[in-house]
């Protein structure tokens, strides 16, 4: 991997919009993500999180606005090697073994030979799939598939991880393990964008972006968002920012 000047701002999105026909999926999202933080994108399903994540990852173009990743405009082929991307579906090849899947994706990122096989053993071991490398993916449970997908995103040690609802459907133990791993990655200077619609995950992020109807309602640390809204729970803070404080009294709606 090429050496780079340390860039303080890893993601710089300016006024990003995206339309699908008549539907305005994203409506002017502007945000900056500094190096080494976990940025949580929170919002109900259908709020535009996935659209924004796909634009960040370079799988989709913005209708207007700009995204700069690691100092380069996105999408750009130069960025591709520095991004680890995990989609909502496993997005791997069910008839291939985990090892074959990882060998394929590793090769796309320029890993090969000893380095590749060592990396595969290492990463699979870390997520508890070390003994399942030979198994075809279609024999995996949902949680195993999600861990396999995370392996795939981490394999080439990217600077920026873009993870679309990585913990959905995971049991609490695995979910904790995922978040512990995210934290360790941030601690060594990796930057993570993690989307979720589960509010109790918000607490584990350094910065939160609340998304609703394609707009960014707020973007700040959990503590700052609590202070701003005067609420103790982040869920309530979200509701206040979404302009529905009445819902709090009714016991909260998601």
């Amino acid at each position: 991997m090429e050496t780079m000047e340390p860039v303080e701002t890893v993601i710089d999105a300016q006024d990003v919009t995206r339309r699908f026909g008549d539907i305005q999926a994203l409506d002017g999202i502007t945000l900056r993500v500094p190096r080494g933080v976990i940025y949580g994108l929170l919002g109900p399903s259908g709020s535009g999180k996935t659209t924004f994540i796909r634009i960040l990852a370079g799988a989709l173009r913005a209708s207007s606005g700009t995204v700069t990743l690691l100092g380069r405009p996105q999408p750009s082929r130069a960025n591709a090697a520095h991004i680890g991307y995990m989609t909502q579906t496993a997005a791997m090849y069910p008839d291939l073994s985990l090892r074959e899947n990882l060998e394929f994706f590793g090769a796309l990122y320029g890993l090969e030979g000893r380095r590749l096989s060592e990396r595969i053993e290492e990463i699979a071991g870390e997520v508890g799939l070390g003994d399942r490398l030979a198994g075809p993916l279609h024999t995996f449970s949902g949680g195993m598939r999600q861990r396999a997908s995370l392996c795939c995103a981490l394999l080439h040690e990217p600077d920026l991880l873009i993870l679309d609802e990585p913990t959905v459907g995971l049991d609490p133990v695995l979910r904790r393990a995922f978040w512990d791993r995210f934290r360790r990655l941030a601690d060594v200077g990796r930057t993570l964008v993690v989307s979720s619609h589960v509010m109790d995950e918000a607490e584990r992020c350094d910065v939160l972006g609340f998304v609703r109807d394609g707009r960014l309602l707020a973007s700040d640390s959990p503590a700052a968002l609590r202070q701003l809204t005067g609420q103790t729970s982040l869920e309530d803070a979200f509701l206040v920012l979404a302009g529905e404080p009445a819902a709090i009294a009714e016991g909260g709606v998601r």
Partner: protein
């Protein structure tokens, strides 16, 4: 363009295929089964057609006619009496009754004698076989009765290509090899590419350092490997097991099947963009495959088609592949006389690569 990434993609396709026994079966075994069936149909002994002979007088000429019919080998001959023959043809046990009169002999200058032939008549194929056998043997036998040397003037055929042993299978096998290659490779690529989209893995590919061109090239390489394997197996089977007529250079047969399948791979990638389910891919078959099967000269020569259909034939890649495959295998044509076919097939493959790559670009739009 990175060779390593393209090879990684091709290797992945090979791995997937190795696991996918059904597709391998479809690609390798099914063509062999179909070719064998064709061989059986065209070369296996047909359902025997039986002619009952009622010999009313045991004249020497009658005995010679019976012998001639038996030697012809296309019909079975059973001698019966008149009553048994009548009920047998009525029941359908025999297909025709040939009644040879008692005083059958050749008398030059006398008015022609009649031999009665009663045909069951409900199957034109059977009727044709009976009439053809008699039309071959009767004149021969009658002339031999007068002059032992046989017909005084005989046809001496000289074959430029093919030969007296050349049959329907020799004529059809070369184009079936092309057709199967095109059909199966198209079907497998489009379904495999569609799966990539359905499973969401295409998203990972697009986000990775892999470029669109590399994706298409990797697919072409991976599938070309299996397409080549398929054509090698089919050609070897046709040549060495079915012993079909074969005049040209075997390398040219591979060249044309591979050129054709390269087009099919990219056509599959291109069209799979317009399908959302596997069923929708199957729905392309009547549009893409069937017209080419009918109009590319496989069964009916293009020259025999109505003019507007000939125009359609002219724009079908399979037409050029079929022409070339027949040319190579039957007539022993070389590249010098087939450069138009090579150009058209290469052009088709390139056009499909461009279209396939451009539809991939749409993926991110």
């Amino acid at each position: 363009m990175s060779r390593r990434r393209v090879l990684a993609l091709a290797k992945r396709i090979v791995h997937q295929f190795r696991r996918d026994h059904r597709s391998l079966f479809l690609l390798i075994v099914v063509p062999i089964i179909v070719l064998s069936l064709l061989g059986w149909i065209y070369r296996g002994s047909a359902r025997s057609v039986t002619v009952a002979v009622v010999d009313q007088g045991s004249s020497p000429l009658a005995a010679q006619i019976v012998q001639g019919l038996q030697q012809d080998g296309t019909v079975k001959v059973r001698q019966m009496d008149a009553a048994a023959a009548t009920s047998a043809v009525d029941r359908g046990d025999v297909d025709a009754v040939l009644t040879l009169p008692a005083d059958l002999k050749v008398t030059l200058g006398a008015p022609p004698q009649q031999i009665q032939l009663t045909l069951e008549g409900s199957d034109p194929g059977t009727t044709g076989t009976v009439l053809a056998a008699l039309n071959r043997t009767l004149p021969q036998t009658i002339v031999k009765a007068v002059s032992p040397a046989g017909l005084p003037i005989q046809l001496a055929p000289v074959f430029l290509h093919g030969g007296p042993q050349f049959d329907q299978l020799d004529y059809f096998a070369p184009v079936f090899i092309g057709f199967f290659g095109f059909f199966f490779v198209f079907l497998l690529t489009s379904v495999s590419f569609l799966r990539e989209r359905m499973e969401g893995s295409i998203e990972r590919l697009i986000v990775s350092p892999l470029s669109r061109g590399e994706i298409v090239l990797g697919y072409v390489l991976g599938f070309a490997l299996f397409a080549t394997l398929q054509s090698v197996v089919m050609v070897l089977f046709a040549v060495y097991v079915l012993r079909i007529h074969y005049a040209g250079h075997i390398g040219l047969v591979f060249l044309f099947t591979i050129l054709l399948t390269l087009g099919a791979v990219n056509l599959g990638i291109f069209l799979s963009t317009f399908a959302r389910t596997e069923l929708q891919v199957v729905q392309f078959i009547p549009i893409v495959i069937v017209p080419q099967g009918l109009l590319s000269g496989i069964i009916w020569p293009i020259a025999a088609l109505p003019r507007p259909l000939q125009w359609l034939s002219d724009v079908m890649p399979l037409t050029y592949a079929n022409q070339a495959l027949r040319g190579v295998m039957i007539r022993g044509d070389g590249l010098a006389s087939l450069w138009v076919n090579v150009t058209v097939l290469v052009g088709f493959a390139v056009l499909m690569v461009v279209l396939g790559t451009s539809t991939l670009r749409r993926e991110t739009a």
